[in-house]
Symmetry: C2
Subunit: 325 residues, 2 copies
């Protein structure tokens, strides 16, 4: 994982050289704040990796890596308002630390700066093409967030609906990061498309693993409260699949426990987790996740570069799926 | 004004052919809603006009005109949340008609579609250049909104501060519309720059006229409540200039009336208006407005196209400043 750490270092350096310290401070301090909360820098590292697969240098991809990281953080700032989330990476969210109006407007300016960074790409010929790819991604991310909000009020969410939502909300940005990096590195259209499909499938696998860990993970390692999805009655793969495979009797029990009020959160998490375990969900979700991983690796195998160059993506995928990155 | 109406018609047709009717409806219906509230389509018409000054056809500029109109409406949707405004063009604002989360996310997707339309420009070579100009504009619009919000809490706003704020929040989008249209039409850099300066100065004149009409306008023609700025204790040019030219005694009276509570709105508007009138503010603001108009016309005179081709911009300026468009 030497390369991965190297890319993280290169990106962190670029980020620190690109501070948003400028007037008006009320607008830009929240931008530096959210960007400073860290995180794994997964998406910008994927941009650099995508470039590196086809090009010795990663420097040409740095503005795009920055664009993707700024966009990702914009989406966190606005999603946190919509979800009324108090904390992000253990720190107050922007609308909590500052206020909601600030979070709206600072998020807006971050979205504009995303395009400003994309316009800084040295290869002027490619800018239009890359922005077009990015637009498709960004639109899907918004649509994914809308479906996620819709599902809260919607009784009949199907498993394909759910998988489509996580594809839009999470996976396409991973796919797009890799594809845009590859385009900057000089990949041909077919290779870029296979990398998109690789990223899309790994992104879905990543989210399924997140769903798994939210209920069955080690609280020490996971970093979030275990059982949060159950407490919030989120319609994740675990719940939707359980409702599908359960007998009518068990399904009724599951629905009863899921409907328990907030005051009985502990009981709710405990009972629902027990049913999910009895229904073999830990195994079923792993199988689903592995099917997406396999599909991802199939696409990676089709990319026309030497196998040893792909090693970094295989390693990143495993770390990603284990959520160790 | 035949050309103006022709351009409005061309744009309305393009707009109606570019509906946002697509899933998820929860995300896109608000977009069609805000775009259908009408308005003068001033900015897209300026894009088409800018193009027409240098090119027979306006069709190549239509995607940019759409981009600018979508961006303008995005900014209205988000500003209305921040200002807690219940009405826009006499209709419920998006966050009132739908809800705040919807208004945030639909606004976001509108901002992304702005770039999607800019990427539809046929002349692929120019896309990067035009997006760079647009980014500068969009960033300034956000900064202007931030300064506007800051001024509400800030005791010592100066007249230059205020003029800078309206330049950022209002004038640069007018300047950018014209410049981007001109670039698409094939204008040279110098002409494009003069058109920018023309638009920037006319935009400030336009906002000063808006300030004037908000206090001294004909309620029938203005379309908004007269005295709204006074009621909200907005630090517009009228108030800031009055505080500057008043004797200490009158200044004290003015500040006392401005501090009156909401329950005494009628008295407040009446007393403040009387002081502004006595201080000759209607004349002073018109002089300031006309200085910007003169500066604008100076720049227009330097644009290297036949004088008769500029006629449409002179006419639009007058209508704009009279707020009849």
């Amino acid at each position: 994982m030497q390369k991965l750490q190297e890319f993280q270092g290169i990106f962190e350096k670029y980020l620190s050289e690109n501070s948003f310290e400028r007037p008006p401070g009320e607008l830009y301090q929240p931008v530096d704040y959210i960007l400073s909360l860290g995180g794994k820098r997964l998406r910008p590292v994927l941009v650099l990796t995508g470039c590196h697969l086809f090009h010795d240098e990663v420097t040409p991809a740095l503005p795009a890596a920055m664009a993707i990281e700024v966009f990702h953080n914009f989406s966190l700032v606005h999603d946190d308002i919509m979800d009324a989330a108090p904390l992000r990476r253990g720190q107050p969210t922007v609308h909590t630390r500052f206020d909601t109006n600030t979070a709206i407007l600072s998020g807006d300016v971050m979205l504009i700066y995303t395009y400003d960074y994309l316009c800084q790409l040295k290869d002027r010929q490619k800018i239009g093409q890359i922005i077009s790819v990015f637009n498709k991604v960004a639109i899907k991310v918004c649509e994914g967030q809308q479906y996620d909000m819709n599902f809260e009020k919607q009784a009949d969410v199907s498993i394909p609906d759910y998988l489509k939502m996580i594809e839009l909300k999470t996976a396409v940005l991973i796919a797009g990061s890799l594809k845009i990096g590859a385009m900057i590195g000089g990949a041909g259209q077919e290779d870029a498309e296979h990398l998109w499909e690789f990223g899309r499938n790994i992104g879905i696998a990543f989210q399924l693993q997140d769903d798994y860990l939210d209920t069955f993970g080690d609280p020490e390692k996971f970093g979030k409260k275990i059982g949060g999805d159950i407490a919030q009655h989120k319609k994740t793969f675990l719940i939707l699949k359980a409702l599908e495979v359960a007998t009518p009797e068990v399904r009724h029990k599951l629905q009863t426990y899921l409907a328990l009020p907030e005051s009985e959160e502990q009981l709710k998490i405990q009972k629902v987790t027990a049913i999910l375990t009895a229904l073999n969900l830990p195994q079923l979700i792993k199988e689903k996740r592995d099917a997406y991983r396999q599909e991802a690796y199939q696409h990676l195998s089709e990319v026309s570069i030497p196998e040893e160059a792909k090693q970094i993506l295989y390693e990143m995928s495993e770390m990603l799926i284990q959520r160790e990155v």
